[in-house]
């Protein structure tokens, strides 16, 4: 069973054909940077963006951020060229748009692994983020999330999903609420991260906070960001409270002491502490940048 939880409170989208924004991408403190070759790039600039991202991805210092590249779908004239250019550079992850089935992921991974073989690269370093943006993707999301070790996060693309459903996106998110919860459940069952869609109105900070709090409440582990201004609010919501951090610290510290003494299961304040609770506590400490001394 996968347990690939990472610190991915925020995922900042950066248009792949904008060198200034790519250069500055790391300074805003997002947990994850997404260099976008798909929707943020005009159809007649796909070659330019691909070459630019290829040249920049391993040269620019993005500090501690996870660096992902969103490629175009393989059904477009751009997808294969994107993979040929980006896979040899092994960013942290490839994000694949409009993922609709496990068969599609298998085909994608087959192509990625052939490219890796040609370059003498392992199949284990770079992961895959599957974007769920269609009704069919929502239907098949559990297979997409669970069947492949390399899929270590799934995300929901709210704008494309509403378009696919022929509905209008509303601030209350009513139209995509079922999809959100189904995607979260697939991620939880697969023990991987699940990232909420962007909040499109960069001037509505209250709305952003409200939507982010809702996303956290139903199980999302992070949220996509279209403007660096949104990062602070999203981090504020997803960063654990002081009480949660204190509790997690105590659990991890006592777990280590008990493990050293050969004790696997123990109790704190009368509650049994076992491996899943320790894993959750370690995740909270990672989010809070706290190290147990």
């Amino acid at each position: 069973m996968k347990r690939n939880y990472k610190k991915r409170r925020s995922m900042l989208y950066i248009p792949g054909n904008n060198p200034a924004m790519i250069q500055q991408g790391g300074v805003y403190g997002a947990d994850s940077i997404l260099l976008d070759l798909e929707d943020a790039v005009a159809l007649n600039q796909k070659d330019a963006a691909r070459i630019l991202v290829r040249n920049m991805v391993n040269v620019i210092d993005f500090y501690d951020a996870e660096v992902c590249v969103r490629v175009n779908h393989l059904s477009t004239p751009f997808g294969l060229a994107d993979l040929e250019a980006i896979v040899p550079l092994q960013p942290s992850a490839i994000r694949y748009p409009k993922t609709e089935s496990a068969e599609e992921v298998a085909e994608l991974l087959n192509i990625i692994e052939k490219i890796e073989d040609r370059h003498g690269l392992s199949h284990t370093k770079m992961t895959l983020h599957a974007m769920i943006e269609t009704a069919m993707g929502v239907q098949n999301v559990f297979d997409i999330a669970s069947k492949f070790d390399r899929v270590d996060a799934i995300t929901i693309g709210g704008q494309d999903l509403t378009a696919d459903m022929n509905i209008v996106y509303t601030p209350d998110g009513a139209g995509i609420d079922f999809a959100r919860k189904r995607i979260v459940m697939a991620a939880k069952a697969s023990h991987i991260d699940v990232i909420d869609t962007v909040f499109p109105d960069v001037n509505d900070e209250e709305g952003l906070r409200r939507e982010t709090e809702y996303a956290k409440k139903i199980g999302f582990t992070g949220k996509a960001v279209i403007n660096p201004r949104q990062i602070e609010i999203i981090h504020d919501v997803f960063t654990p409270t002081e009480e949660e951090i204190r509790k997690a610290y105590r659990i991890v510290k006592e777990f280590r002491a008990n493990s050293a003494a050969g004790i696997g299961v123990f109790a704190i304040d009368g509650k049994m502490i076992d491996a899943p609770i320790v894993t959750r506590a370690e995740y909270i400490l990672r989010l809070a940048n706290v190290t147990v001394g």
Binding site: N18, P19, A20, Q23, L43, N44, Q45, K46, D47, A48, R50, I51, L52, R54, N55, M56, V59, I60, P77, F78, G79, L80, A81, D82
Partner: protein, 96 residues
């Protein structure tokens, strides 16, 4: 190789560079017009990058105009590679 068609890449935005390439008559060599907002500090480096890439692609009979707004080396190389491939009509995975 010489350009088949006129082509351009990049933008006039800060930290970017725009390249325009057009073919010249046979045996014309290279005609370069390079301007940069950081020419005084980084002009020699910019010229070196351009010449090395033109050599790498064996480009001759070419008129190249570059207008730089402080692009980093990977950006300069990306934009010039894009312009050269477009001028050779060899760009892949894009709409023209």
């Amino acid at each position: 190789m010489k350009p088949k068609i006129a082509a351009q890449s990049g933008t006039f935005e800060s930290s970017d560079v725009i390249f325009l390439i057009e073919p010249l008559p046979d045996n014309s060599g290279r005609k370069l017009e390079i301007s940069s907002t950081v020419m005084q500090q980084f002009g020699a480096n910019f010229n070196r990058i351009v010449l090395e890439m033109l050599d790498q692609y064996e480009m001759t009979d070419i008129h190249l105009i570059a207008k730089d707004k402080g692009a980093l080396e990977p950006t300069i190389k990306a934009r010039l590679e894009t312009a050269i491939k477009r001028s050779l009509d060899e760009q892949e995975g894009t709409l023209k």
